[in-house]
Amino acid sequence: MGSKILTLILLILLILLISTTLQIYEKTYANEIYDNRHTIGFPQNITYTINISSSELSEIINQLKNIDNITSSCKNIDCVQNISSSYIRSVANRLRDEGVLSNDAYDAINILSNSGSSDYKDLYSLINDPEIRSLLSQLNTSDIQKFAELANSSMNRLMEMYVSGRISYKEYAAALELIRRLALEKNVYDIYNLAGEREMDLLRAIIDRSYSDALLKMISASKDISLIEKGSSNKIFVSQNNMSGSNLFSGFEGLRLVQIMFPSIPLTMILEIAVVGVLITLIIMLLRLGVNPLEKISRYITNRGVIDISKLSNLPTPIKIYWMAVSILSKRVPRYENETHREYLKKIIENKDPSSQNFSKITEVYELTKYAGVINKDLEKTAEESFKEMSRR
């Protein structure tokens, strides 16, 4: 019956612990900034409600959507430069102000969308890599026959360097623009078109990356993010407080942001869950094994296996000595009421107590005196000497 009550108390304590932990989690972490990582094993179907102006959000989304449409419809950079260079630059300005576009990417967009506004010198000055500078110098001085071949190999080399991350957006854009202009001067239109296509690819890549960064930064920057479980939904979407449930990304499939918008669970929370889990498992295992942890603790504290030495006055000396030795040793190794003298000795030996050898002799004499009824002076002497030796240690 006692064990059942104890189990009930422990269960109540565990429930309280778990609920408190969850409340702390909700209050501490739910209002904090989320980063763009998904913790494996945790639910992905969560709705974010973010507190930013609906008009501001719509405007940015629409601008991004327009640029996506422009870059999708244009094959060559000429198309962008002729149609919407100013619009792209204004959006780039806005994104840079929001902190979602790096200076490097911003400069690259400006180079790509700003045909003719920068002269050769300015563009060349943007390139720091000596290899590119050398390649461009060679292209500048080469004759028309060699230009095409050299420009092709130079663009391939530039691509390799860009992909490997050796050069920045800005350097890549400037180099391509220079090659394009040189090709136009030398009337090598194949190279001119190829360089334009490469520039277009670069612009698309920058815009694509900007989408993700912009939206994630906007979500991160929002002050009040609450988690709402939506068990039935398989989608994740961003909504406003006053527009709960509406999907602002509908019709904007190209974003592909869903995969990276899952919340991460803070490490401390995972640790808390792990600790609670381990505790629950341990307690259940102990209870199943018939070990009552509270009883063990209370027995350890009260140490009831030790006898009051003042009550031993009429007993034979070896018995008195044994219980005196127990009273000393039990401070280091507790003795329980249900433990026999041999069991306690075994425990002392297993604990590698320095007094184990002397206590072994005392126990042997105690057993003979108490249970075999042997009382003689030699045994008393052995017990006394062993006790003295034990006390010195």
């Binding site: 006898i307 007993l315 009421e337 003298h341 041999r342 108490k370 249970y371 009824g373």
Partner: protein, 309 residues
């Protein structure tokens, strides 16, 4: 060298990983008690009993219990001799020193009752003539714990007549491999086994066991354990005074075969389970929760204070 050590050294070559069972059976024999061995078929229960009989130079008989077995098949009966024209007693297998009663729960209650009465009284009455059984007299009964059909479980009152219930288990993997690899050698050694303790020596040892010292605190310890089995909330029927007497007897024998002439609380703890396990009946509501007599014994031993000071 203690008596047990001497025997264990010999039987360890024949009975692999059966030291616990052997020590309990010898202690039961020295205590003039009977043992109930519970275990699945094929774990050397018969061989164990036979080996004990041979080591002590005692007469051994085996009875395979079946539902149609009659009391007279065990005890014996008077048969008419045509030559002499008189009725002569034909003794049943119960007239031996060690009797292995295989699958005791397969016999009808009437036959079981006749056997158990003989175990208790150590004498039988056949057609009005009372005959004493051989001394020493020990019944080693076996039963299969997993059979429920075609069996007649022993009533609690009759279970109480067994001094101990020995739960025989399978050997470990290592032991099992040892048995398989050395089975021919084991069988040969078993056949060639010679008595190591004569009948007279055995009687002397039995007499010595009676003189083993039991401190008053040990009696108090045993009493508190047995009484705790009765007051335990999960127990419907606890240990009887006979259970306490059995504990003391078995503890004395165990102490003796270990070379001591006094009982210590450790002996009581060791024999508590085999002596009490078949004497405790758990309440049905606890039984369905998985509470077993062995759990109750463990629980009681963990709470009962050992003698002090």
């Amino acid at each position: 060298m203690s008596m047990l050590r001497k025997i264990l050294d010999i039987v360890s070559e024949i009975l692999i990983e059966r030291e616990y069972e052997i020590s309990l059976l010898i202690a039961t024999l020295l205590s003039s008690g009977h043992a109930l061995m519970e275990g699945v078929p094929g774990i050397a229960k018969t061989l164990t009993a036979k080996t004990i009989a041979r080591l002590f130079d005692l007469e051994f008989k085996r009875i395979q219990m079946t539902p149609d077995l009659l009391p007279s098949d065990i005890l014996g009966s008077y048969v008419y001799n045509q030559k002499t024209g008189e009725f002569e007693l034909r003794q049943g297998p119960i007239f031996a020193n060690i009797i292995l009663v295989d699958e005791i729960n397969r016999a009808s209650p009437r036959t079981q009752s006749a056997l158990l009465e003989a175990m208790q009284e150590r004498q039988v009455t056949i057609e009005g003539v009372t005959l004493s059984l051989k001394q020493p007299f020990m019944v080693i009964a076996t039963q299969n714990p997993i059979e429920f059909e075609g069996v007649f479980p022993l009533p609690e009152a009759q279970l109480d007549r067994f001094l101990v219930k020995i739960e025989t288990t399978y050997p470990s993997t290592k032991g099992f491999i040892k048995i398989m690899s050395r089975i021919d050698e084991i069988e040969e050694r078993s056949r060639e086994l010679k008595p190591v303790i004569s009948r007279e020596e055995l009687f002397q040892h039995m007499n010595n066991v009676r003189n083993v010292r039991v401190d008053d605190s040990i009696y108090e310890y045993v009493a508190s354990i047995v009484e705790a089995t009765r007051s335990h909330p999960a127990v419907r029927l606890g240990g009887s005074p006979r259970a306490g007497i059995s504990m003391i007897r078995l503890a004395k024998s165990l102490a003796y075969i270990e070379g001591r002439n006094y009982v210590i609380p450790d002996d009581i703890k060791r024999i508590a389970r085999p002596v009490l396990i078949h004497r405790i009946i758990v309440k049905p509501e606890y039984e369905v929760e998985g509470v077993r007599p062995e759990n109750i014994i463990e629980n009681i031993l963990s709470k009962t204070p050992v003698p002090k000071p």
